[in-house]
């Protein structure tokens, strides 16, 4: 197992002080479309491509590009090559190959792989090598995937730009002066720059959908409970979800089909049957009723993003969908609700990082309570501390009713509003983010401005419904725009169908 590539994990800056060097090369040289899963599998089956050679080519490309974009935090080469050899042995025997045979996949560094570093983008987990695999990791490998390494992200998945990583920000492959979005910025950027064919991320308030939009790839928010979270480093347990990224909708659907399903190790995982999402995505959209919520097209939406999304909506109409304007009047309360619920849960989940059982322990204290607080102060970055404090405050005696309870009540209003809407429409389409990718450093000084980058994504997080972000045009500067397609609980298939239609229209 190799530790960090590009940056040594040991001598990192204290936090957030990473130099934003302007060494950026001409941007388009980083962007490359991966071959589809279907095509790769066909080549490996036919023996025209060896899985081991394919993995080696990906590691070469990572070695070349990663120093510029900081996408991977660590590589799992030995494990990947062993897996690739197993796939090649199967292919040589002419045995039927599993659905992801030889497909190079990257894993967000909030999911654990046995023996590989798991930092969650934080100093406090520096050096930690978990003794087990996340369920989604086991499922991908059982399906033949070759897991290349661990992907950079905001610390504990808290952020919208990947600038909160203790290991330095990820740069957007489309324009390295811009952020890739976050928190799963590494996962989105890896697909956009073909440093993996598909990746896994996690989404608590938009952390898959928003970076997918910023990097011009497909990102999936599965229904709450659809995918096991065993082995996911928890942020906010009533909101956290694991989901895939890919360049194409059908590949993202294939990935979800493999990682979805009940897991005895995760009591919150759903026992609902898992449909063949890839086949679901093949179905035509004719006759589907598409809701357009007026609140998502109001003040604050970048005019070029609006134009792109409106073109996508016209394409859906041309494909035979019925458009229906709808209203979701509680939308404006979603960000405050989200930040109270998520920080309260985070303050409880992050209590486990105390310097006792794993990760960083401060050497500066000879009492237990001093060791806790020094380890946490030195180990956590500013945004994580801010959220722990806000969450602790919102849960503390005298404030619980005013903040946490109030937020949970509004959460119900927001969720019920979606249920009412889905009685009349099959899917809802919106912009994924109010703007295209912003510049590095642009919002780091203002936490509230950063939170507003999630204004269109936190609603679905609170309601537990599913969604897909699909590329939908570009701005005049060439920055990707993503459309968010939302569907009711357990109806990912509908979201994939609509996303396929937008993709096919090449907006």
């Amino acid at each position: 197992m190799e530790a960090g590539c590009g940056k040594g994990l040991a001598n990192l800056p204290r936090e957030g002080k990473v130099r934003l060097s302007s060494e950026a090369k001409s941007s388009e040289s980083y962007v490359e479309k991966p071959t589809t899963i279907q095509e790769l599998r066909a080549r490996i089956s036919a023996g025209t491509t060896k899985a081991a050679d394919l993995a080696a080519r990906y590691y070469d490309r990572i070695a070349k590009i990663n120093p510029h974009l900081n996408i991977y935090l660590s590589l799992t080469k030995e494990r990947a090559l062993q897996q690739a050899e197993r796939v090649d042995a199967l292919a040589a025997k002419g045995d039927p190959l599993p659905p992801l045979a030889g497909v190079p996949v990257g894993i967000k560094d909030v999911l654990v792989m046995q023996g590989a570093p798991a930092t969650a983008g934080s100093r406090i987990l520096q050096g930690y090598r978990p003794p087990y695999d996340a369920t989604v990791v086991s499922k991908l490998e059982a399906a033949g995937a070759v897991l290349l390494g661990k992907l950079n992200c905001d610390e504990f998945a808290m952020g919208s730009s990947t600038e909160n990583s203790a290991y330095g920000p990820v740069r957007n492959p489309v324009d390295p002066e811009r952020v890739p979005g976050g928190s799963s910025g590494g996962s989105a950027a890896a697909v956009a720059s073909n440093l993996a064919v598909a990746t896994l991320g996690s989404d608590t308030g938009g952390s898959i959908r928003q970076p997918a939009s910023f990097c011009g790839v497909v990102g999936v928010l599965p229904t709450y409970g659809r995918v096991s979270r065993f082995g996911l480093i928890a942020f906010a347990s009533s909101l956290d979800r694991v989901g895939p990224f890919a360049a194409k909708v059908r590949d993202a659907a294939t990935m979800l089909g493999i990682i979805a399903g009940h897991d005895p190790k995760d009591a919150t995982s759903s026992a609902a049957p898992v449909p063949d999402f890839a086949s679901e995505s093949d179905k035509p959209v004719e006759g589907l009723r598409i809701g357009i919520p007026i609140e998502y097209f109001a003040e604050g939406l970048d005019p070029e993003v609006r134009t792109s999304i409106e073109s996508g909506i016209k394409a859906l109409e041309a494909a035979g969908c019925t458009l229906k304007p709808i209203s979701l009047p509680h939308t404006k309360y979603a960000i405050p609700t989200y930040y109270l619920v998520a920080t309260a849960e985070a303050s409880a989940n992050l209590a486990r990082f105390d310097g006792v059982r794993y990760g960083y322990r401060s050497p500066d204290s000879d009492t237990l309570s001093g060791m806790y607080s020094h380890s946490r102060d030195e180990g956590f970055g500013a945004e994580v501390k801010r959220r722990i404090l806000l969450g602790t405050y919102a849960l503390s005696a005298g404030y619980y009713d005013a903040y946490y309870l109030k937020a949970q009540q509004v959460r119900r209003l927001l969720a019920e509003e979606f249920l009412r809407a889905f009685a009349e429409v099959d899917a809802i389409v919106t912009p994924t983010a109010p703007t295209p990718a912003f510049k590095l450093g642009e919002k780091t000084g203002d936490p509230l401005a950063m939170y507003l980058a999630d204004i269109y994504t936190v609603t679905a997080s609170l309601a537990g419904i599913c969604g897909v972000t699909v590329p939908c045009g570009r701005t005049s500067a060439g920055l990707p725009v993503g459309m968010q397609v939302l569907a009711r609980h357990l109806n990912e298939g509908t979201a994939f169908r609509v996303a396929r239609a937008v993709e096919a229209a090449q907006v």
Partner: protein, 107 residues
């Protein structure tokens, strides 16, 4: 809900959360927390009397006509778990059988 947080409250909350803040950090957090709390005060516009709090969403699937997760408890039987030495190998300090921490009580 619009009450301003004081420096003492930030210090108290930091203590509850086992965070040792520097004076500069305390000042910055005071500013940020007040800005965020001002913003979330928007929720006061909504009358939520009689609205049941929603702590988790799976109950909604039923209301939506979706498939409810059957209540299915696993058998209460012994299963193997991670080996003690494997787990302790990740700890900052152990005596081979337990996690070691600094002194809890001074005497």
């Amino acid at each position: 809900m619009t009450a301003k947080v004081t420096e003492e409250e930030v210090a108290r909350v930091a203590e509850l959360a086992h965070l040792q803040l520097t004076p500069q950090e305390t000042g910055a957090m005071l500013h940020d927390l007040n800005a965020i709390l001002d913003y979330v005060a928007e929720l006061n516009e909504l009358d939520t009397a009689g609205v049941a709090p929603l702590a988790q969403v799976t109950e909604l699937f039923d209301a939506n006509g979706g498939e409810l997760r059957p209540v299915e408890f696993r058998q209460d039987e012994l299963r193997s778990s991670l080996d003690r030495s494997t787990v302790l190998a990740e700890a900052p300090e152990t005596n081979g059988a337990f996690f070691k921490v600094p002194k809890v009580i001074d005497r």
